[in-house]
C-alpha cells in the first residue's frame, strides 16, 4: 500500500522542483493528447516551447512574449499577495476590465487635447483606481457581511463584462466609427497611447510596471512588516490575530492591491496592444494570472518566470494552431494541465510517499 506521510517540515527542494516537474509532466501528457489528435507530439511541443524563442520567426514572437507576459505578471503579483494571506480574489479579470474602462474613459475625455505629461499619468491613476474600487466591492462585502470573496469577485467579472459591452456600444463608442462597436483607438492618440518603448521589442510601460511590481513585491514579502503580516495571516489566521494583525484591514489591503494592479494591467493593455475598448477586449489574463501566481509558487521571482512560461504557451499555442492545425481547445487543455500537475505534485512538498510492504499481506 502506498501511504502519504506528513513531513516534519516542508521540503524546500520539492517546493522548487515541483514547477519544473509539472512542466515536464504537462509536456508528456500533452504530447499524448496531441498524438491522439493525430499530430506529431514532438513537433507540437517544439512549436510551443522552442520556436517562439529560437525559431525562424522568433524576432516577431519574442515581442509578443513580452506583450503577453506583462499583464500576466502584473496581475499575478497582486493576486499572490492575497493568496498568501488566504484572501481569494478570483475576479482579477473584472478588475482588469474596469481598470481599462476607467483609464480609457479619462483619456477619451481629453480627446483631442495633446498633453501627454498630464493625460497619460492621469489615465494610469484612473486605471488603478478603477480596479481598486471594483475589488473593494467583494472586500467590503466580506468584512462587513462575511460574504465569500471568491464568489463575489468571480461573479463581478460577468458584471464587468456587461459594463464593457455597454461602454463599447454606448458611452465610449467612437463617434467616427460608422456605428461599429468600440471606442476610438488610443494608439492613434499620442497623449494617451501606451507605445512600445523600443520599436519592435514589445516592451511597453505595462512591462516596466510589471518589473517594478516584481521588485516591490519581493521587498514587501521578505522585508516589510505588511508582507510578514500577509504571510502570517495565510499561515495561521489565529496566530495573526495574536500578533495584532487586523484581519479586516488585511483583507481590504490584499484585495485593494490586487485590484489596483489588475486595473493598471487593463489600462496598459487598452492604451497599448489592444488600443480600444471593445466587446472582446478581455482575453482571460485575469484568470490565467491565477495559474501564473501558483506556478510561480506565489513568489515574485517565480511569478516572473511563470509569467513568461505561460506567455510562451499562449504564443506557441497560437503558432501550433496556425501552422499545425491543433485545435484551440487542445491548447487550453494543455495549459490547464500545467496547473493540474502543479497542484498534484505540490503534495510532495508537505508529504512523502511511503510504500508499506507489510500492509500488502
Amino acid at each position: 500500500m502506498i501511504r502519504l506521510e506528513r513531513r516534519p517540515a516542508p521540503s524546500r527542494a520539492w517546493a522548487w522542483a515541483t514547477p519544473l516537474l509539472a512542466v515536464l509532466a504537462t509536456m508528456v501528457a500533452g504530447g499524448l493528447l496531441f498524438a491522439f489528435l493525430g499530430k506529431d507530439p514532438l513537433l507540437v511541443i517544439r512549436t510551443i516551447f522552442w520556436d517562439p524563442i529560437l525559431g525562424e520567426f522568433a524576432f516577431y514572437y519574442r515581442g509578443q512574449l513580452l506583450v503577453k507576459a506583462g499583464p500576466l505578471i502584473l496581475i499575478a503579483i497582486g493576486l499572490s499577495l492575497g493568496f498568501r494571506a488566504g484572501v481569494w480574489n478570483i475576479g482579477a479579470e473584472g478588475q482588469y476590465i474596469m481598470g481599462a474602462i476607467c483609464g480609457a474613459a479619462v483619456g477619451l475625455a481629453f480627446y483631442p487635447l495633446e498633453a501627454r505629461w498630464l493625460i497619460f499619468p492621469l489615465m494610469v491613476l484612473a486605471g488603478g483606481l478603477g480596479g481598486f474600487l471594483w475589488a473593494m466591492i467583494p472586500g467590503i462585502l466580506r468584512t462587513r457581511f462575511n460574504t465569500n470573496e471568491i464568489l463575489v469577485s468571480l461573479l463581478l467579472v460577468y458584471v464587468a463584462e456587461q459594463i464593457l459591452a455597454w461602454m463599447a456600444l454606448g458611452p465610449l463608442r467612437s463617434p467616427d466609427g460608422a456605428g461599429f462597436p468600440g471606442s476610438r483607438n488610443l494608439r492613434h492618440y499620442d497623449s494617451a497611447a501606451n507605445h512600445e518603448l523600443i520599436s519592435g521589442s514589445g516592451m511597453h510601460w505595462g512591462l516596466v510596471a510589471a518589473f517594478i511590481a516584481v521588485i516591490l513585491g519581493h521587498v514587501l514579502l521578505s522585508r516589510h512588516i505588511l508582507g510578514f503580516n500577509i504571510r502570517l495571516a495565510g499561515a495561521s489566521p489565529r496566530a495573526a490575530r495574536f500578533a495584532g494583525v487586523n484581519p479586516g484591514l488585511l483583507v481590504l489591503t490584499c484585495l485593494g492591491v490586487s485590484g489596483a494592479l489588475a486595473g493598471f494591467a487593463g489600462l496598459f493593455e487598452v492604451a497599448g496592444p489592444a488600443g480600444q475598448i471593445n466587446i472582446d477586449f478581455n482575453v482571460g489574463y485575469g484568470f490565467t494570472a491565477i495559474i501564473v501566481a501558483f506556478l510561480g509558487r506565489l513568489h515574485p521571482v517565480g511569478i516572473l518566470l511563470a509569467g513568461f512560461l505561460m506567455a510562451l504557451t499562449y504564443i506557441g499555442g497560437e503558432a501550433a494552431q496556425a501552422t499545425l492545425g491543433v485545435p484551440a481547445a487542445a491548447i487550453q487543455a494543455f495549459q490547464g494541465m500545467l496547473l493540474f500537475f502543479l497542484l498534484a505534485l505540490d503534495v510532495m512538498t508537505n508529504y512523502r510517499v511511503r510504500i508499506d510492504a507489510r500492509a500488502r499481506a
Binding site: E5, P8, A9, I225, A235, R238, N246
Partner: protein, 520 residues
C-alpha cells in the same frame, strides 16, 4: 491466583524517528484497576490504542482471557469486550445524549428503549445523566459520563480510560472513582492512564510504569510514595520549584466589571469579571476547560477588545488597545494552543519570534523588519530556555510540544513583561519541562512582574501561585490565598459556589450535593 484477563507480551510499535513502545509486557487481572503511568510521550497512549485495535503492533502478542487477541480494528476490540473512553470526546453538541449514544452503536435499539437503558446504567453506576439533554449544554464531566455509559452499554470486560480526570473538578473525580470502584467489584478490568500520582495511589491496585516506550517498573502504587512513583516515571530526582514567599507589590493590572461575549460558537461569555494582579505575585486561575479560559486570555492579550476602562494597567485604561499596543506597555500573553495560535506552524522560529516580539524588541523600523534582531531574539530564547532544535531556522511544527512551549514562554519572558498572562503553560509537557517552565514563571514574578497563570492543573496552581481564583461558566470567583486552601474549598470554587463564606447555604443545585464527599 487466577489467570490474567489481559496479557501483553513484548509489544513493539515504532513510528518514523521514534519507538513508541519497545518490548512492553504486562498482565492484568479481573477486578483490578491497573494504572499505566508515565510522562507524556512515554508510550501509554500508543499502548492502549494497540489494545483497542486502533494500531497494530510491529512485534509482540496479546492474550485476552487466555486466548490470542489481535484486534484489527476497534470494532474487533469491542466484539472481544474491550471498550475505551478517550481523552477527547467525540460527541455531537447539537444532539441529545441518547442520540449520541445511538450513533456509537452497531445496532441501536429504539430510542425509547435506549433512553431507559441509559437511565438504568446511569443509576446502577452512580453516574447522573439525563438521556434527553443536549450535549452542547453538558459540562465536561457530564460529557465524559456519556462516553462512559456508551462503553458500559456494551458490557465490556476491559474498560480503558485515557486521562479521564484531566477535565474534571475534584467532585466529579470523586464520582468517577466511585463508579470505577463499583466496576471493579463486578470483576471488570480497568486500564487507567494518568500521570497524576495521587490519583493513582488513591484508586489503582497495580501500576505499570512506562518511560521512553519501555516498562521501567511495576508496583502496588498504594505501597509507594508519590515521589518514588515520580522518580520511576521520570528517571531522575525531581527538582521542585523554589518557594514562593514574597510580599506582593502594588496592583499592576485590574479588571473591573468586564462582560464579553465569546467570538466562537459554543464559546463562553465572560460575565462581570473582577480581577487584580499585583507585582511580584502569581495569580492562579483554575477551572475546567471551556469555562471561559480562552476568552479570558483573548481579553487580556488584546485579541478581544472591551470598554477602555474595564481593564486598567495602573491608571491607564487599556481595554480598547490591541495586542501590540499592550505589548508596548508591557502586557504580554502566551495562549494555550501552541501551534496555530501562539505560533504559526509552518513558519520558522525567527519569524515566530517576530510574531510577538516585533514591537517590544524593536524589530520593526519604518515598516521594515530587522530580521537580524528577530534571529537574535529567537536564538536568545533557544539558548536561555534550553529549546532543543537544530537551529532558529526550524519550523515551529517540527518541534516537540515541550520544546515549542519552552520557546513560546521564553519568547514572552525575555521581552521582560510587566504583566504576563499564560494559559495552560505546561499542558501535555513532561515533568522536567513543566518544572522548568514553572520555575521560569516564578523567577519572573520574583523580578517584580505580575503573572496570571490560567490552568486546569490544580496541583500546578497550588505549587506556584500566591492567590487562587476559579473560572466557572465565565465567572471568576473571589481570589483566595493559596496557603491553607483545602481541596474541598477549591472544589466548591470550581463548582461555581461563589459565595464561599456563606458556606452551608449553597444554592448551586446538584453540584452542592456532589460536593458533599470530596477527598478521595
Amino acid at each position: 491466583m487466577s489467570t490474567p484477563l489481559l496479557e501483553v507480551r513484548g509489544l513493539r510499535k515504532a513510528y518514523p524517528g521514534v519507538v513508541a513502545n519497545d518490548d512492553v509486557s504486562f498482565a492484568a487481572r479481573r477486578g483490578e484497576v491497573h494504572a499505566l503511568l508515565g510522562e507524556n510521550g512515554a508510550g501509554k497512549s500508543t499502548l492502549v490504542k494497540t489494545v483497542y485495535g486502533l494500531l497494530r503492533p510491529d512485534e509482540g502478542r496479546m492474550m485476552l482471557d487466555g486466548r490470542d487477541y489481535a484486534p484489527a480494528s476497534p470494532h474487533d476490540a469491542r466484539q472481544a469486550g474491550v471498550a475505551m473512553v478517550f481523552q477527547h470526546f467525540s460527541l455531537f453538541e447539537a444532539l441529545d445524549v441518547a442520540e449520541n449514544v445511538a450513533l456509537g452503536m452497531e445496532v441501536p435499539p429504539p430510542m425509547r428503549e435506549l433512553a431507559t437503558r441509559i437511565r438504568d446504567v446511569s443509576e446502577t453506576y452512580g453516574l447522573p445523566l439525563d438521556p434527553n439533554r443536549l450535549v452542547g449544554t453538558l459540562s465536561a464531566g457530564e460529557r465524559q459520563r456519556v462516553e462512559i455509559i456508551r462503553c458500559l452499554l456494551q458490557d465490556p470486560q476491559v474498560l480503558i480510560m485515557d486521562e479521564p480526570t484531566s477535565v474534571l473538578t475534584p467532585q466529579e473525580v470523586a464520582i468517577l472513582f466511585e463508579t470505577l470502584k463499583r466496576l471493579r467489584t463486578e470483576g471488570k478490568l480497568i486500564l487507567y492512564i494518568s500521570h497524576k500520582l495521587e490519583e493513582i495511589r488513591a484508586l489503582c491496585d497495580w501500576a505499570t510504569i512506562l518511560r521512553h516506550g519501555r516498562v521501567t517498573g511495576s508496583c502496588d502504587p498504594r505501597q509507594k510514595s508519590a515521589r518514588e512513583l515520580a522518580e520511576t516515571m521520570v528517571g531522575s530526582e525531581l527538582a521542585l520549584p523554589a518557594a514562593k514567599t514574597r510580599e506582593p507589590g502594588e496592583v499592576a493590572l485590574s479588571i473591573a466589571g468586564l462582560t464579553a461575549a465569546s467570538g466562537a460558537a459554543f464559546g463562553t461569555e465572560l460575565k462581570d469579571l473582577f480581577l487584580e494582579v499585583r507585582r511580584g505575585e502569581i495569580l492562579g486561575i483554575g477551572g475546567v476547560a471551556g469555562n471561559g479560559q480562552d476568552e479570558l486570555l483573548a481579553v487580556l492579550s488584546g485579541e478581544s477588545r472591551s470598554a477602555p476602562d474595564s481593564i486598567m494597567l495602573g491608571d491607564l485604561p487599556i481595554g480598547s488597545f490591541g495586542p501590540n499596543e499592550r505589548r508596548a506597555l508591557g502586557v504580554l500573553a502566551a495562549p494555550e494552543e501552541r501551534l496555530g495560535h501562539a505560533t504559526a506552524p509552518d513558519m520558522n522560529l525567527i519569524e515566530n519570534a517576530a510574531l510577538s516580539g516585533r514591537r517590544r524588541m524593536g524589530m520593526v523600523s519604518r515598516g521594515f523588519v530587522n530580521w537580524g534582531k528577530a534571529r537574535a531574539h529567537a536564538e536568545h530564547v533557544i539558548e536561555q530556555f534550553d529549546v532543543r532544535v537544530p537551529g532558529a531556522g526550524s519550523v515551529a511544527r517540527s518541534l516537540s510540544g515541550g520544546n515549542l512551549q519552552k520557546f513560546v514562554i521564553g519568547r514572552e519572558i525575555l521581552q521582560q513583561p510587566d504583566v504576563l498572562v499564560v494559559n495552560q503553560p505546561t499542558w501535555g509537557l513532561d515533568a522536567a519541562a513543566a518544572a522548568a517552565i514553572r520555575q521560569s514563571l516564578l523567577d519572573l514574578a520574583g523580578q517584580g512582574a505580575a503573572v496570571i497563570v490560567i490552568s486546569q492543573d490544580l496541583d500546578e496552581l497550588m505549587e506556584i501561585s500566591t492567590r487562587f481564583s476559579a473560572l466557572n461558566e465565565g465567572r471568576l470567583s473571589k481570589p483566595r490565598d493559596t496557603d491553607g486552601l483545602t481541596l474541598e474549598e477549591i472544589g466548591l470554587m470550581l463548582g461555581g459556589a461563589h459565595d464561599l463564606e456563606i458556606g452551608q447555604g449553597l444554592s448551586a443545585p446538584d453540584r452542592a450535593v456532589e460536593a458533599g464527599e470530596t477527598s478521595p
